[in-house]
Amino acid sequence: MTLHLPPNMEALVSAFLRDQAEVVAMVADRVYTAIPRNDAGAPDTRWPAVRVTQLLDQPTGSPLWAIAYEIQVEAWGGSKADAFRIANVCRAVIDARISGEYPGEGIVNGTTPGPLLDLPDDDFTPAKPRFLFTSTIHARPLATLSTS
């Protein structure tokens, strides 16, 4: 019997973004799946920064072969213009380049980009500029596990 193991899309997308020259030029390696925190629980990072969150993985059915992932990508500025540019570039590179095979993870078949939303982060005073979007990423497993 073979088990199909769908990819960890949150990790795959964050690694993918850290590997894109246009993204690195704007945020260096600050593409997170969880924002680092200090002992007081406050964000402990330089800005601008990007966070990738997997909201949902929706299998089309059994066998566990085709999965639609909802991935939210947030970009904090700098300035509002910086936040927009970073989010805009992240959405574009995901749309144009993420499809393909990821050894040890899975195969990305395609994406459906979502709208770019201007949602300043109210937890800062004044609110920190932030743009975000949610993309649907269609993928299938590459890793399989054979059992007796």
Binding site: G41, L56, W76, L119
Partner: protein, 111 residues
């Protein structure tokens, strides 16, 4: 199986037969909205006092809009965006978007 009382099909502008009128349609819409409400509540913040989120996941029963009916589910809490999209201090848990998907409803932002 006969359709529910008051339930009938009629062709839309494209000539496709579609549910349009009757208590049956309202019942379906109300049921789908209630399904979404249940899923959103399951995913809502565990702390009950969080901006009164859980008790403010509400359903607006089906009502006539033009030639058809519309029902709605909405979150009438001022803190909805904090959990929906997150902040640098808080991970997004997206109860509305995930709840709608889990209720098998199409949901698109900005529409």
């Amino acid at each position: 199986m006969p359709p529910a009382k008051g339930f009938r099909f009629e062709p839309n502008e494209a000539g496709i037969f579609d549910a349009a009128n009757g208590d049956g349609v309202k019942g379906i819409l109300n049921q789908r909205a209630t399904d979404a409400q249940r899923e959103i509540r399951k995913l809502s913040p565990s702390r009950r006092a969080f901006f009164d989120y859980r008790k403010n996941v509400k359903v607006a029963k089906a009502r006539r809009v033009g030639r058809t009916y519309e029902a709605a589910v909405f979150v009438d809490s001022p803190g909805w965006h904090l959990v929906e999209y997150g902040t640098a201090y808080r991970e997004p848990t997206a109860p509305i978007r995930r709840g709608m998907k889990l209720a098998r409803l199409d949901f698109r932002e900005n529409e």
